[in-house]
Assembly symmetry: C2
Homo-oligomer: 302 residues x 2
């Protein structure tokens, strides 16, 4: 890949001076996330190779040779690939994954090898413009030296690190990802089944509706092959989804009954949950609303 | 109210030169929306009076005297106030309301008086910084001259006008408002019942989760007395809410069954509904995501 001199210079400056170049093998290196990881580690001065189904470099050879072996394959393939390649990873090397679920891949990695193990979940898609400020969750597995190395590398690229056990990660992602994806999907389904056309509703849009519709439209432009496994394989999914469906049924009853008192109690309960965060929400959403007023005004009236 | 010379000058420039000053009585003029309407019509050069429960001016006297009588009272009070004051409105005057539901208030207005009637739904809260670009839905009732006047006034203040029958308005608002408010409320309820603390989840936030959480926090900072009637009194509410709950149950089944094929079909169906709007959604949400990456990075990691 060609880089401008300026970009090379600025990237070199990011590499901690006392870090030596490692060989990094990305299994699934031709996928979107694989290529993103390639950029991330190459720019830090490491010697990155990509092994995928169609590459001349075979995954088994890459896994046996590299200092760092990163499993970046579809969620449903992850355990199988780990069980196949883990035993080949050198004992002094690092086996790492980037799966959106952490309990099962971590258990598979720890069982498959005596090498160091670090689980990660980069919370951004392959299409991001910059790593700066993106979040990555790290699950410590085995081996402190490589754990420190992983922290250093992500920090050097400006990523924000959250650390958690695999269980904690998955229970948090059941809320941060599963609950919110599920909600967006249900909204999209309800809209598409409403009998109205989208264009028609947009003639009557409020800024809030336009925002939700952008978020929903964006969601469904992504691949269901990404979201399906995240929702189906998270061990906490069904609990969270049941909570959502129960809340919907409860609120539907309240609205159908016209029970304003119960409706007020819902607001009181949820407000208590949000607590002081409400102030931040009001402040930060203000700029969004202003921008969206402009956008919704731009959509012509009938 | 004191105004700078500059503001007075710019506001005078907004008034169409051939429009004469009218007397405008706002029934419920001391409420948030009433005060907002007072500003809107005063700044256009009209002679605005406010009649409310505590004002020296009695609503009945105001309604009998004014050229334009605007009903701006809580939704649940609207029909009663219209039935009481409508018969007092002069035949050559305009009776107008600003209720978020349109079928019932329009029927009440048309039945209560022989005056001209225009229904409106200003789709913004009392707290907005500017009328410019905000949307107002107008439902023509009776009398073309006053209908034109209402259009002129809102246009002069930079509002975007959508026109619809009361039925169409309510069916569109069942989607634009009811469905989205309901979804946000269910999400807030599910979050508050999830067993996790909000602060804990924010240590693992993605930009998308932060955005949703701002939107949800903002929603619950508003009054349930506003949202309750909008959801309970819209004639299309129950149909839309049932569609939402059915979609949630369908998707819950698909996720619990691990049925990726059915999940893909959901995406295909919703994507077809969104159609070309998807491109706009991707483009316009890009700027939001970038800003939210900064904000979520600003929230410290554990």
């Amino acid at each position: 890949m060609l880089m401008s001199r300026e970009r090379q210079a600025s990237l070199r400056a990011e590499v901690p001076l006392d870090v030596e170049s490692k060989t990094v093998a990305i299994i699934g290196g031709e996928g979107g996330m694989g290529r993103s990881l390639n950029t991330l580690f190459s720019d830090l001065g490491h010697d990155v190779s990509s092994a995928d189904l169609q590459t001349p470099l075979r995954p088994a050879d890459a896994a046996a040779a590299a200092d760092v072996v990163i499993i970046s394959v579809p969620i449903r393939e992850t355990r199988g690939v780990i069980e196949q390649l883990g035993p080949l990873v050198r004992k002094e090397a690092l086996l790492m994954d980037v799966t959106s679920i952490k309990t099962d891949p971590m258990a598979a990695m720890l069982a498959s090898t005596e090498a160091s193990v670090v689980g990660t979940h980069p919370m951004f898609g392959p299409g991001v413009n910059t790593f700066q400020g993106q979040r990555v969750v790290i699950c410590p597995g085995r081996g402190d030296a490589w754990l420190d190395w992983a922290r250093q590398m992500f920090t050097a690229r400006g990523l924000v690190i959250s650390e958690a056990t695999p269980d904690k990660h998955d229970s948090m992602m059941a809320i941060v990802q599963v609950l919110h994806h599920f909600k967006t999907q249900v909204l999209g389904m309800a809209l598409s089944r409403s009998g109205a056309s989208l264009e028609e509703t947009l003639h009557f849009t409020s800024p809030a509706y336009l925002l939700e519709t952008y978020v929903t439209g964006r969601h469904f432009a992504q691949s269901p092959d990404l979201y399906g496994p995240i929702e189906m394989l998270n061990p906490d999914s069904n609990r969270v989804i049941e909570t959502f469906c129960k809340a919907a049924a409860d609120l539907a009853d309240i609205v159908a009954a016209g029970d304003q008192e119960a409706f007020n109690q819902v607001f009181a309960d949820v407000r208590a949950f949000f607590g002081e965060f409400t102030d931040e929400a009001l402040e930060q959403s203000g700029f969004l609303i202003d921008r969206l007023v402009e956008l919704s005004a731009g959509r012509s009236s009938t």
